[in-house]
């Protein structure tokens, strides 16, 4: 079986041949399986957002390939268009893309562009709206009347309604308060469970990545520094730190305790760490 998405030796250079030339990605390879939740973490820079715009073919690689179900999305025009819909891309601050008169119409924009029937478009839009917790009342409102958090949800619903096989979100919780963050992550998880969709989310919060992803891809200076399960990645906390990337506070507490001669297993959420510590106490 081929993977849902494969990225092979992807390199991207902005403005090649000019004084502004900048390598944003260099030889990036990874693959995403069915219904996986992956977090892409990395420091500042254009690497992360450049990467995700390759996944649905908006950007053209300087070299390397992006494959969906084993087929190069740039091998013909039809596949490139199909990639737009197979990979649903939610940009950073997506509320800025709202433009329709009503919330419902805005959510329907994507499915309509896919050429779906009116009934199917409406069914999907209603379902997506419900998943992100929008009420019946909200649907007939202008998107510009809503609060910031609600706008964000409308924008995400606009992509969910396209029912992509792979959902990609660029910092979906940026600028939200803790409650808003929790809600958005909850909606995405619900959608994923229901549709068995694979999800990639870009974040610079190690805490968010540790709590929500099954697999992590750590980007550093445009190339992949490490990838694996959160356990595998956070075991290498020292390496992450020396690359200037943070680790969850909990990991720091555990490595501090280890340096004091207390033997503890790796844990990266407060709950898991608490049970590791309780276990250690019972053992003694």
């Amino acid at each position: 079986m081929t993977d849902l998405l494969t990225v092979e030796n992807l390199t991207h250079i902005y403005s090649p041949g000019t004084p502004f030339e900048k390598k944003a990605l260099s030889d990036v390879s990874f693959s995403i399986g069915e219904s996986e939740m992956t977090a892409v973490i990395g420091q500042t820079g254009r690497g992360k957002s450049t990467l995700i715009q390759h996944l649905n073919g908006i950007l053209k690689p300087t070299s390397g390939r992006v494959l969906i179900h084993g087929e190069d999305i740039r091998s013909d025009k039809r596949l490139l268009r199909a990639a737009r819909f197979a990979v649903g891309l939610v940009f950073q601050y997506p509320e800025y893309q709202l433009f329709e008169e009503t919330v419902l119409k805005d959510i329907s924009f994507g499915p309509k562009n896919m050429g779906l029937s009116n009934e199917e478009t409406e069914r999907r839009a209603l379902e997506a709206a419900q998943i992100v917790g929008l009420s019946e009342d909200d649907l007939s409102k202008s998107p510009f009347e809503l609060s910031g958090g609600q706008k964000r949800r409308v924008a995400i619903a606009g992509i969910l309604a396209m029912e992509p096989q792979l959902l990609v979100l660029d910092e979906p919780t940026a600028g939200l308060d803790p409650r808003g963050r929790e809600q958005i992550i909850g909606y995405i998880k619900n959608y994923r469970e229901k549709h068995r969709t694979s999800v990639i989310f870009v974040t610079h919060s190690m805490e968010d990545a540790a709590e929500n992803a099954q697999r992590l891809i750590v980007l550093h200076r445009g190339s992949i520094l490490m990838q694996g399960t959160p356990f595998e990645v956070f075991e290498r906390a020292e390496e992450l730190k020396s690359a200037g990337l943070g680790v969850p506070k909990v990991c720091e507490v555990i490595s501090e305790l280890r340096s004091r001669g207390i033997n503890l297993k790796t844990a990266f959420t407060p709950e898991a760490a608490a049970s590791v510590i309780k276990g250690a106490r019972a053992r003694d």
Binding site: P178, R179, G246, P248, K249, E256, R260, P270, A280, D284
Partner: protein, 272 residues
């Protein structure tokens, strides 16, 4: 320095109050974090502090001047400088130093005096070497520091920052936070930091928690964040170190904000 006396505020007459019965005093040299989730009124609180908004009831005083006094509004704004969330929308000029000079130019200062203040303000935020750069080519953290310098050039006594780090990545956040805390510690600048990041609030000397237009909690970071249940009720987070101790045993001393303090507690728990 800044005083709220029984302040209420509604955006329109007859509309629901965004803020109700706020009594708050911010003393000279303090570093106060205002926490709360979106829509709790914390941005409105900030805008009342330099007369962008005028209370519906009650009074706000800056250096003893009421923000209702239109004659003195200029002095109030000069004393209480304001920095906003989106640095892109507060930078006026396409050259860093000319932007920083904007307030001084409005004050009608001599060119030599402006030069001096611009250089001082840019050094204070560690951006002097970018003086002739174009703001749109800077990183988010750098742009926000330019915006701070633009306010510092007025030589205000207080700096009010309305979610200055909300749009920044971790590195930018650290840059801005270090700058602001440095100004407070080294130059005695009064700082009001509006934020929803618990770890940022933990670095301030006092935390004010807002909930539905009222002050729900106030105290030192340790006093506030150790009340894990109360914070959950307000659907706010606590730092991971506190959460870990709370999960371990809620009867532990929960005032550990740093990694070291947290490790100390756990060591005691394991060996005790």
């Amino acid at each position: 320095m800044i005083e709220f006396k029984n302040v209420s505020f509604a955006y329109e007459e007859g509309a629901k109050n965004v803020l109700s019965d706020i009594d708050l005093e911010i003393k000279k040299g303090e570093c106060v974090a205002v926490l709360g989730h979106n829509g709790c009124g914390k941005s409105t609180l900030a805008k009342l502090m330099n007369g962008i908004l005028i209370p519906t009831a009650g009074d706000v005083f800056v250096n003893g001047l009421s923000t209702r006094d239109e004659e003195r509004l200029f002095d109030i704004r000069r004393a209480a400088g304001m920095v906003f969330q989106n640095s892109d929308n507060q930078i006026v000029s396409s050259i860093v130093e000319e932007d920083v000079a904007f307030a001084c130019e409005n004050l009608g200062m001599e060119s030599a005096e402006i030069r001096k203040r611009v250089d001082e303000a840019l050094s204070a935020v560690d951006m002097l070497e970018y003086r002739t750069h174009a703001p749109h080519l800077l990183s988010g953290g750098q742009k926000q520091r330019v915006a701070i310098a633009g306010v510092l050039a007025m030589e205000p006594q207080a700096l009010i920052l309305d979610e200055p780090t909300a749009m920044l990545d971790p590195r930018g956040r650290r840059e801005v936070l270090d700058t602001v805390l440095g100004l407070n510690r080294e130059k005695g600048m009064t700082v009001v930091l509006i934020t929803h990041h618990m770890d940022e609030a933990a670095l301030c000397s006092r935390v004010v928690v807002m909930h539905e237009g009222r002050i729900a909690l106030t105290g030192t970071p340790k006093e506030v964040f150790s009340q894990v249940e109360k914070m959950r009720e307000l659907s706010l987070d606590v730092p991971q170190t506190v959460k870990l101790l709370y999960e371990l045993d809620s009867s532990l001393d929960l005032t550990a904000l740093s990694v070291k303090e947290c490790a100390d507690q756990i060591e005691k728990y394991l060996r005790g």
